[in-house]
């Protein structure tokens, strides 16, 4: 009998423990809670924002889009005021009704954006997302270790013998697939089964020539010489260029995707005015230039880009890419149900011997 009572109490304690964990998991409501990738904005942003506006913000970090999306979908968007996510995920938040409409009157610095950045296909007129950084995905290589400069995605997917075993590709589903889609002349949002079958076959044969799939250290593999040619986001290639000027970046002749990271205000936010203030603060030319100078990504902010030193544009030529050229490329879009097919194709590629 004693045993029984105790184990029931133990269960109650356990349930209480779980509840407490659940409470601890949601951020406190008093602050403006901003979730961003680690190191994606100035480390003193909380202090400078408070000095400028008097609003206390709290920054939490997520490692990937998928991680923060999982949390937002599970909580119905509660617990966060502003999230930084890539544009296809901003679209999903909008489609799920979790994204607040951007009140342009409260974000006057939207005027700093290039007109092109306010007319992107995923969200023309910036109704639910505000562009933060943008760029391309291409080839990053050691000009001193490859015989000739690559010009096509085929240089990576059907490599010459000399570079076999010295290439890496991105492991994230959409960019891995994009390399194959672009090489075959398809849209980066192609979902036709026959065409995606061809993409899969090409990427499986490419896999056999790869050193590794790598999303995070490919540029250091170039620096060490372990790899000589890698699929890379332009900004990450810049980290390699910073350490070794023989590293170069090119956009293959078949093109690139136009990737875009955005700021989204959550509909469940209880501090929407403060959230718009924060976005306005980030769009300030000086604050936005911080991202370009420190993350080496292009930012869609005209005065911010114009304020960058000329040496920087010389050292990292992709930073100087004209906006008109950049927006020629197609954005990755949310593909809805087809995402499951994409996941399956990626599993098939990764499981292939």
């Amino acid at each position: 009998m004693t045993e029984f009572t105790f184990s029931r109490r133990a269960l109650a304690a356990a349930a209480l423990g779980t509840a407490m964990l659940a409470v601890a998991g949601t951020a406190s409501a008093a602050n403006l809670v901003v979730s961003n990738w680690e190191g994606y904005m100035a480390p003193d942003i909380v202090d400078t924002f408070k000095a400028a506006t008097g609003v206390q913000a709290e920054v939490v970090v997520h490692a990937t889009n998928e991680e923060i999306m999982g949390k937002l979908i599970a909580s119905g968007g509660k617990g966060y005021d502003i999230v930084f996510v890539s544009s296809p995920f901003a679209e999903v938040l909008h489609n799920l009704g979790l994204a607040e409409t951007i009140d342009h009157a409260k974000v006057p610095n939207l005027a700093n954006l290039y007109p092109e950045a306010a007319a992107l296909p995923h969200d023309p007129g910036n109704t639910f997302s505000v562009p933060y950084t943008w760029g391309t995905t291409g080839l990053c290589y050691r000009s001193d270790l490859v015989k000739e400069a690559p010009t096509s995605w085929k240089a990576l997917l059907e490599p010459a013998d000399a570079v076999k075993g010295k290439t890496t590709m991105l492991a994230t589903d959409r960019w891995l697939l994009a390399a194959g889609q672009l090489a075959l002349g398809y849209s980066v949002n192609e979902t036709d089964a026959t065409k995606m079958g061809q993409v899969k076959d090409l990427l499986i044969s490419a896999k056999r020539t790869l050193l590794a799939y790598d999303d995070t250290t490919f540029y250091s593999k170039l620096v060490s010489g372990e790899a000589v040619l890698v699929q890379a986001w332009d900004g990450w290639c810049n980290y390699g260029i910073a350490e070794n000027p023989d590293i170069k970046y090119i956009i293959p002749s078949e093109g690139s995707d136009l990737w875009l990271d955005t700021m989204v205000v959550m509909k469940a936010s209880e501090n929407k005015d403060a959230a718009f203030q924060f976005i306005n603060f980030m769009l300030d030319a000086k604050n936005h230039a911080w991202a370009a100078e420190n993350i080496l990504y292009k930012v869609p902010n005209k005065p911010a880009m114009e304020s960058l030193p000329a040496e920087m544009m010389q050292q990292y030529p992709n930073m100087a890419m004209p906006v008109a050229d950049l927006v020629k490329y197609e954005q990755l879009r949310d593909v809805g149900e087809a995402q499951r097919d994409y996941s399956r194709i990626v599993s098939e590629i990764k499981a292939a011997q």
Binding site: S7, A212, S343, A351
Partner: protein
């Protein structure tokens, strides 16, 4: 009073562990199991309509193939770990008694550092511009070297390295307990060293081998860090597939079904091992008699 104190004290002592297990093990497992019966929403998340399609997908040739491949890699790692670990345990058990604690301590010393850091150490060691290559260059080798890293061999080496101490510990216990007189009797009756090992030592220490082997296999087949880091993402193991469903594809229901299948395999193996151990325990005394009589 004193009589009642005993059971309540034991329940009080049990309560924290029970609460811990319930909150952090039983409840999450039940939640994951429940998740496996729903559909993925169009945009990720969970659509709460009942379905069995996730379990059907687990036995799809593609995913079943990944299970089999994981089992093959885990099996190879287990085989190597058992051979190497048993030999090491044998040597430790044969060493002078006062030195044995030191050797055992050295065997488990790697556990004092973080698993990830130890795995990164292998990257530093094996990569094409790594320590091994530099060593070869230093002794005068100038040719092109293949990458040792990002191969299946590297994945297996990483698994063996990380789980070897479990085998050493599991095999050491029965080896150290083994009555030396049994072996002496076998030698006295003309059994060769090999026969003595095959007929006496090995059968009596088999439960330890089985325990160590099941440990390595179960930990290896669910591992996702080692294949990701040492395999460069080129070798998909079941752990990576589960990880991808949760953290890349946002298909939690399918990830949950895969995780449940993996847990079922692990539990089955652990139960078989426990069953075999109990049977071996029961047979222990008559076996000893038979062995002694040769």
């Amino acid at each position: 009073m004193a009589v009642r104190l005993v059971p309540s004290r034991s329940t009080v002592l049990m309560a924290p562990a029970l609460a811990w297990l319930t909150a952090l093990m039983v409840v999450p497992c039940v939640l994951v199991l429940a998740l496996a019966f729903f559909r993925r929403g169009i945009y990720g998340g969970v659509d709460y309509t009942f379905t069995l399609e996730n379990f059907a997908a687990v036995v799809d040739p593609l995913y079943a193939g990944i299970f089999l491949n994981s089992a093959r890699i885990a099996g190879l790692a287990t085989l190597i770990a058992v051979v190497v670990g048993y030999a090491a345990a044998y040597a430790i058990a044969a060493a002078p008694r006062h030195r044995q604690p030191l050797y055992l301590f050295l065997a488990v010393l790697p556990f004092w550092s973080n698993y990830l850091i130890r795995t990164y150490a292998w990257i530093v060691l094996l990569n094409r511009e790594g320590l091994l290559t530099q060593l070869l260059r230093w002794v005068g080798y100038t040719g092109e070297l293949p990458s040792l890293l990002y191969t299946e061999g590297a994945v297996i080496a990483g698994l063996v390295y990380n789980y070897l101490p479990f085998v050493v510990l599991a095999c050491y216990a029965p080896l150290a307990r083994l009555n030396p007189e049994l072996r002496e009797a076998s030698r006295d009756l003309g059994g060769s060293a090999f026969t003595t090992f095959r007929r006496i030592t090995l059968p009596l220490t088999l439960p330890g081998v089985a325990a160590g082997a099941v440990f390595v296999f179960v930990l290896s087949i669910g591992n996702f860090v080692t294949p990701a880091l040492l395999g460069g993402g080129r070798f998909q193991m079941i752990g990576n597939l589960v990880y991808d469903q949760f953290l890349a594809a946002n298909d939690w229901p399918f990830g949950a079904a895969l995780a449940m299948a993996l847990i079922a395999i692990m539990m089955l193996l652990l139960m078989l091992q426990a069953f075999a151990a109990t049977r071996a325990e029961g047979r222990q005394s008559p076996d000893r008699g038979e062995a002694a009589h040769g």
